[in-house]
Amino acid sequence: MSTSPSGVHDATGVSAPPPATEGAAVAPGMQGSRAGRWRRFWEDVRRTPSASVGLVIVAGFFILSLIGPYIAPHSPTDFDIANKFGRPTLAHPFGTDPFGRDVFSRVIYGARLSFLLAAAATLFSLLIGTPLGLIAGYYQGWLDEVLMRVTDALLALPSIILALLIVTTLGSSAFNVILVVGIVYAPRIARVIRSGTLALRNEEFVQAARARGESGAYILFSEVLPNTIAPLIVEASIRMGFAILLATSLSFLGLGVSPPAPDWGLMVNEARPHIFRAPWLTIFPSLVIALTIVGFNLLGDGLRDILDPRRVWTERRSEGV
């Protein structure tokens, strides 16, 4: 877990550490100001290919979800039976579906839906997982034991199976997709936060706070939590990608968002009977799903490289050595 984002830690065997950076001077003015830290971070993002490519894709996806409905050439739901199974043309770049709806417009509208579903689900799982992880990691004891056994049991099931189990209970709807994905990922986030908290718990600054007589709440939220932010951001980014993956998978199985919503997974599902007759119905939504998830994963990976203490590797890579 990253405790000092730009400290050069043990630079490990392959190369001896540049000794000057250890106990020695920091170039004056280099990192002092908040703005300087941001500039440095921005520089890191730019020199880490995965982070910059991921950021571009994610930003594009985000913008599309904001302005999509304003730029889509057609309605996502209006039928035009005369025009069904249209091959991709200039007017319909992604073709049309069995009801003559414009696939391009549906894909564009789908961005907002996917973004909202994934963001809400990720937020939900963070809101449940983070406090549980913090409390379990810090207080330990029976609470930790119970919590960990329960997450063990939940994690014994592959996420899609767990999701199916919950869907059976809740029924399928857009809102329930958020709940399901949130519940499925919450234990995973709790695990990540717990292990981070566990490591931080024995840090001397936390001991110092305890020796000072600080309250548990102060220690958790003022001493521990700020140090879990970096891994949380990484986790959130990767979880966003997985949330889209799980949500579209549920829709693909016909257990997520119901028709006629322009959901990407649903579109691939509805295209199945026509997979040979009108492959574009499958291909375009599939590629967009893949691209979006790749974007979030790249961003998460890049951020981990940047925020991780073992960043020495990133530096070498980005320098092309």
């Binding site: 063990d152 099931l157 592959p158 199976i161 059976t168 209970t169 993956l245 998978s249 691939v268 599939s286």
Partner: protein, 315 residues
């Protein structure tokens, strides 16, 4: 180490017990009239009552749970509501079908995953590494239903008509048909899992190569080949063992989607059937079976890890 294994077995038992509570509990909180839900809106109150009696829904929850669990442990997994048949034979047959799929991709994953991972690790930051990394990346990111659909379009008839895109043949009747229908789903599953194994192996190799004992080995005068084979691999492959086991569980999840795409009659499509038809006994039993298989796979991996790691073996 025996103590550790016993301990590990104990925690598996606890996990599975909790899982059974969750599986049973989740199906208990079905909103509204369960019987009506199952039988549909046009069912009569009489048939609903009969079903409630049949499902013992009139008894207290804990008693239902106890009965269900004891029966499950004894091997009586109940009767499917929709199929009207004993669950166990169907489930085991479907599990066997899924196992073909899982095993064939597991072999591929272990072979290619570890191989490519090592290659990427020792060629770190060179073109080979970047290429493998890109491949692994796409594998991790692309959902199975996307890659599966694209594979069908490519090889199942859309572009080239090389392999059947769906269906299943029993190996006892038609070995060739069985094999050809296994290829595409296996590749889809492999693509999904290869990525994890490659990435884990690669980062683990890279990490090991930065350790002081690798430096010591090099400064002993050992050749690079010896450094990798004698010193690095033993330590680097340890975490991979765990990842492969976790993948077995992950695999059993992915089969739900893959079997749906390829119309493959395995445990995944059975679960999907149970979910769509609200066949509770069938759903409970199949989810438990998946939980048990996952748990056992992790157990085997942990024991293997302990055995292969001298730091645990000789504590």
């Amino acid at each position: 180490m025996a103590v550790l294994i016993v301990r590990r077995l104990g925690s598996l038992a606890v996990t599975l017990l909790l899982l059974s509570v969750i599986v049973f509990g989740v199906t208990q909180v079905l909103p509204g009239n369960v019987a009506q839900m199952i039988l549909g809106p046009y069912s009569t109150p009489e048939t609903q009552q009969a079903l409630e009696k049949n499902l013992k829904l009139d008894e207290p929850a804990w008693q239902q749970y106890r009965d269900w669990l004891t029966h499950f442990v004894r091997g009586d997994w109940g009767t499917s509501l929709r199929l009207g048949q004993q669950i166990r034979p169907i489930l085991l047959l479907r599990l066997q079908n899924s196992a073909y799929l899982a095993l064939s991709s597991l072999i591929g994953v272990v072979f290619f995953g570890i191989g490519l991972g090592i290659l990427a690790g020792i060629r770190q930051n060179r073109p080979t590494d970047h290429l493998i990394a890109l491949f692994a990346f796409l594998g991790i990111s692309i959902p199975a239903f996307v890659s599966g659909s694209l594979l069908i379009i490519l090889f199942g008839g859309g572009v080239w008509n090389l392999l059947p895109g769906s269906g299943y043949r029993s190996p006892t009747e038609d070995v060739r048909g069985w094999l050809t229908r296994l290829v595409l789903p296996t590749i889809t599953l492999m693509l999904l899992l290869l990525a994890y194994v490659i990435r884990m192996t690669r980062s683990s190799i890279i990490e090991v190569l930065t350790t002081n004992y690798i430096r010591a080995a090099r400064l002993k005068g050992a050749s690079e080949r010896d450094v990798i084979l004698r010193h690095a691999l033993r330590n680097a492959l340890l975490p991979t063992v765990t990842v492969i086991a976790i993948n077995i569980g992950f695999m059993l999840g992915s089969v739900v989607i893959i079997e749906q795409i390829f119309a493959y009659p395995g445990i995944g499509s059975l679960i999907l059937f149970a979910v769509s038809n609200r066949d509770l006994p069938l759903l409970q039993a199949s989810v438990m079976v998946i939980g048990i298989v996952t748990g056992l796979a992790n157990l085997v991996a942990d024991v293997l890890y302990m055995y292969l790691n001298p730091r645990i073996r000789y504590r």
